[in-house]
């Protein structure tokens, strides 16, 4: 009996021990994984300071060459040159690249290495309530060795809208978490459980308990930031967008247009008072909040699809979004306050006193804004009106240009182009583009414009919105070096109608008109996939979509060009031959 009992006990023991071990090992594994993720992710986290170690916030490096994200309200307090501490204990020089004051985002670049530890970007639209998340940064400026503080929590809400808090900062479509976000955490990353950046922490609901975490913090969603990243990399002050129309709930609870400006794209393309908004950028709109939330994630100037319903019929238009602020308004707002320190906790930062660097002998040509900058920052900074750091606009412009050059070398020669083919509506065509003029012969007639003259008024052929000027400038983009244009800037990235992805956009102006080129890069080759020629601000541009790039007569050229004006197809040119004539 005793033997039996002890046998039984032994059996049970084995069973329970192995059961405990089974339960324990996933627990241990989960813990080990958490530790691994936190350790890896923390390598990319920044403690951001002003040039002399003042101010303070957080940030995260997102590329090996040192591009990093933070909050605008953090970098604004630091100025154009910053010091960033990393988990390795090193302090790096950093320079401001671009800012989004409305969205509270800043892009900076760490200098001095090309192998910075960096974090991958996640997809914030895939985040759901209840997911675990890490917050990392430098709350209360605790870490004197820059090791980030890690807090852990769940996602409490997604697609949250936070009204501007007495400032221009508006948080749209943001993530809400109960992981502790405290002063000093601003600008730091919100990581998902895999260590991917899903947001930039920037705001909490603080009230009577003082400026400390009360279990509710907000992060700007990384998908919104991805939309603005191109503009920011271009050294710009990014602006958010408006449709030029107001929406409200009607008595049936539908979202309808309650007010619309008559000079805006949406009106020109047919949107009217009382039309019901069905979807925006592919997302269905169920409430005014949803509409505001969604509109807030797009930069000014993007063209996005909008579907509206009138008399039970749905219509989709592609609307170019207007800026939320007047030209120059944001610049005015951000310039005079460079040295404010809003994100500083009441206690002095416990960072070791930075030895005051001996005053550098200033070269006489150094502008006041660059005075006191370390040499390495000065090499990466250029001021120009409308830009935070014009140096990076040149970097991006040159990057796109050199890609285009490599892909389309034979087209760079100074000779005129002769293009022949069939137009869907207007029969056989012959297009001639040179430095001086652009000419098209169609079955319906011939048109010619002078490219040296005023392009705002030469909008031939009729009803094309300025097709010849558009194509003429397109050729000049290949032959004319950037220096020879009035302005030729990198505008950031933007989507194209009917296609997914983002294109690099170059904006060039000539003869009073403006042309936007949408440059796509696939497998190392760059192509201009779309053009938008705008003779003036409030007029429908001539849109040309260039498709099916192929070798035509030895030249890398599109097989098809679709010309659209105001959401109507003007014609489709199908190209059969291309020749670069001898000058």
């Amino acid at each position: 009996m005793k033997i039996l009992l002890s046998l039984l006990v032994t059996c049970c023991t084995t069973a329970t021990v192995s059961m405990a071990a089974d339960v324990l090992s996933p627990v241990k594994e989960a813990e080990a994984e958490r530790v691994a993720v936190a350790t890896r992710a923390s390598q990319s986290v920044l403690a951001v300071f002003g040039p002399r170690g003042e101010g303070g916030g957080s940030g995260v490096v997102i590329s090996p060459d040192g591009y990093a994200l933070s909050n605008f309200h953090v970098t604004q307090a630091c100025g154009n040159a910053m010091k960033c501490g990393m988990a390795d204990g090193e302090l790096y020089d950093a320079v401001i690249v671009g800012i989004d004051p409305t969205g509270d985002v800043a892009l900076l670049k760490l200098l001095g290495r090309d192998d910075f530890p960096h974090a991958p970007l996640g997809d914030s639209d895939q985040v759901s309530v209840g997911d675990w998340a890490y917050v990392m940064g430098n709350p209360f400026l605790l870490a004197s060795d820059f090791t980030p503080t890690v807090t852990y929590g769940i996602i409490s809400g997604t697609h949250r809208y936070q009204y501007p808090a007495g400032t221009i900062l508006e948080y749209t479509d943001c993530l809400q978490t109960d992981a502790a976000i405290n002063p000093g955490n601003s600008g730091g990353p919100l990581f998902d459980s895999q260590g991917r950046v899903i947001g930039i922490n920037g705001r909490g609901s603080f009230e009577k308990r003082g400026r400390v975490n009360v279990g509710i913090g907000y992060a700007i969603s990384i998908n919104q930031i991805k939309n603005f990243l191109g503009t920011l990399r271009g050294g710009r002050i990014a602006d958010h967008a408006t449709l030029g129309a107001r929406v409200a709930h009607d008595y049936q609870g539908r979202v309808v247009v309650s007010d619309i400006l008559t000079h805006v794209d949406a009106y020109r393309r047919g949107l009217r008072y009382d039309d019901e908004i069905v979807s925006l950028a592919g997302r269905t709109i169920g409430s005014v909040n949803e509409f505001k939330n969604l509109l807030g994630i797009f930069p000014k100037g993007w063209r996005i699809p909008l579907t509206y319903r009138r008399d039970r019929r749905e219509q989709t238009i592609h609307v170019r979004l207007l800026g939320l602020h007047r030209a120059g308004e944001l610049e005015e707002m951000v310039t005079p306050q460079q040295r404010q320190q809003p994100d500083r906790p009441s206690e002095p930062p416990e960072t070791p006193e930075q030895p005051q660097s001996p005053e550098q002998p200033e070269a006489t040509e150094v502008s006041p804004v660059m005075r006191g900058m370390p040499e390495i920052v000065r090499e990466h900074f250029a001021s120009a009106p409308g830009f935070v750091n014009f140096y990076f606009n040149q970097v991006e412009r040159d990057r796109v240009f050199s890609l285009l050059r490599e892909s389309g070398a034979p087209l760079m020669s100074p000779g005129a182009w002769e293009v022949r083919g069939q137009a869907d509506e207007r029969g056989a065509f012959r297009l001639l583009l040179s430095d001086q003029f652009a000419e098209i012969e169609l079955a319906t007639g011939m048109a010619r414009i002078d490219l040296q003259g005023d392009l705002m008024t030469q909008l031939d052929p009729p009803r094309s919105g300025g097709l010849l000027a558009c194509l003429g400038l397109w050729r000049l983009l290949h032959t004319l070096p950037p220096e020879n244009w009035g302005t030729l800037e990198y505008a950031g990235t933007a989507p194209l109608p009917f296609r997914s992805g983002l294109w690099d956009v170059l904006i060039a102006s000539r003869g009073g008109a403006e042309i936007r080129s949408f440059v796509g890069t696939e497998a190392g080759t760059a192509t201009i996939d779309a053009l938008e020629f705008s003779p003036e601000l409030h007029v429908d541009p001539c849109e040309v979509y260039l498709r099916d790039y192929d070798l035509i007569d030895g030249l890398w050229f599109p097989r098809e060009m679709e010309i659209r004006v105001g959401d109507e197809v003007y014609d489709v040119l199908r190209i059969e031959s291309v020749q670069v004539l001898q000058p």
């Binding site: 324990l24 409490s156 809400g157 809400q176």
Partner: protein, 349 residues
């Protein structure tokens, strides 16, 4: 051999305990509560809008659907002090609500909207949880969610289950019962009336109003166990007689009050008027004991008192058949006086 046996058995018992504990708390180690559970709970939580909006009083709070016909359990507060109470359900639909019943000692209110077939918390499936259990808090804290936006979710762990009356006068609430203290900051503006659930989505408690410890200035994070509210709530729903206030039994049948002592305090004009003695009636028990005008009452019995209100509350909890001890500050000196029992003299008043 025998020793080994005992050892093994001991290990076995430990293992069983460990295994049970781990199985009982599978979520303690980072498991995520299932999205289905979260959505289900969110669909039963409503946003309540009412009076307020001035002097730091938020005009909104949270509530819980507890019947398919639209009964809503929430916290009794100034938000409900209006004829126009609006309730917004998880699907974004707006309803005007009527205040059906309140219980001031439990700080609880029952609202009703005209509805049928709405998702609700079944009061039969209410859970009691142990200290150390992982819990979720659902509320519309700071009014973050509007329309059909789901309410916020926070996570935490039950740190303790204690009685809130442990120190009278410390928290300004009439509630004197047990609470779950949580390690997450769940009692924010607008969160009152929200749900505390376990990771399986079972209702555990009702998030209370914001409470601040008067002595330490710390905010309490807590929820009132639903099992405490349940008898009264059931009676409210059925329209039957309320059970006795469970906290009334703590009060003596014949408590002390100020008139018995002959002490008159300064006019109570502030939130926390310091309890200075304004006057003491001649030949009153207070005067006989030695109390004088301008004394600052510091202790009533064992209780530290910081306001006139706290003095009254503390007296009400003391039996008048027992001597009353009071500690006062006179000048910079602490003095203690004892007033003899007065209960038998009550008829005189």
């Amino acid at each position: 051999m025998v020793r080994t046996g005992t050892g093994t058995r001991h290990t076995a018992r430990m293992s069983v305990l460990l295994a049970c504990w781990l199985l009982g708390n599978p979520t303690a180690w980072g498991d995520v509560p299932s999205p289905d559970v979260l959505r289900q709970v969110q669909s039963k939580v409503v946003k309540i809008y009412g009076a307020g909006g001035i002097r730091g009083l938020e005009p909104y709070q949270t509530g819980l659907l507890i019947s398919a016909e639209g009964h809503i359990l929430t916290v009794w507060s100034t938000v409900l002090d209006t004829v126009e109470i609006t309730v917004v359900l998880d699907d974004g639909s707006r309803h005007s609500a009527t205040l059906q019943d309140t219980d001031v000692s439990l700080e609880m209110a029952l609202l009703k909207i005209d509805a049928s077939d709405v998702p609700y918390f079944d009061l039969v499936e209410v859970a009691e949880v142990e200290t150390g259990t992982w819990v979720l808090a659902f509320s519309n804290l700071f009014g973050v969610a509007a329309g059909d936006e789901p309410v916020s979710v926070q996570h935490g762990c039950v740190s303790a289950r204690i009685d809130l009356d442990a120190r009278r006068g410390v928290f300004s609430t009439p509630y004197r019962g047990p609470v779950y203290v949580v390690d997450a900051i769940v009692n924010n503006p607008g969160a009152a009336g929200g749900a505390l659930t376990d990771y399986q989505g079972r209702l555990v408690g009702l998030l209370g109003k914001e409470l601040r410890d008067a002595r330490t200035s710390l905010w309490l994070n807590y929820a009132i166990p639903l099992t405490t509210l349940q008898p009264t709530l059931q009676a409210m729903l059925e329209g039957s007689a309320r059970p006795d206030n469970p906290f009334d039994q703590l009060r003596p049948a014949e408590p002390w009050d100020l008139p018995q002592t002959g002490i008159l305090l300064v006019p109570d004009v502030l939130d926390k008027t310091p309890p200075f003695v304004d006057a003491v009636a001649p030949e009153s028990p207070g005067r006989t004991a030695g109390l004088l005008p301008d004394d600052l009452i510091v202790y009533v019995g064992e209780e530290l008192v910081t306001s006139c209100q706290a003095v009254r509350e503390s007296l009400a909890m003391l039996d008048a058949r027992q001597p009353l001890r009071m500690t006062v500050m006179r000048g910079d000196e602490l003095r203690q006086y004892e007033i003899p029992p007065q209960a038998e003299n009550r008829t005189r008043e």
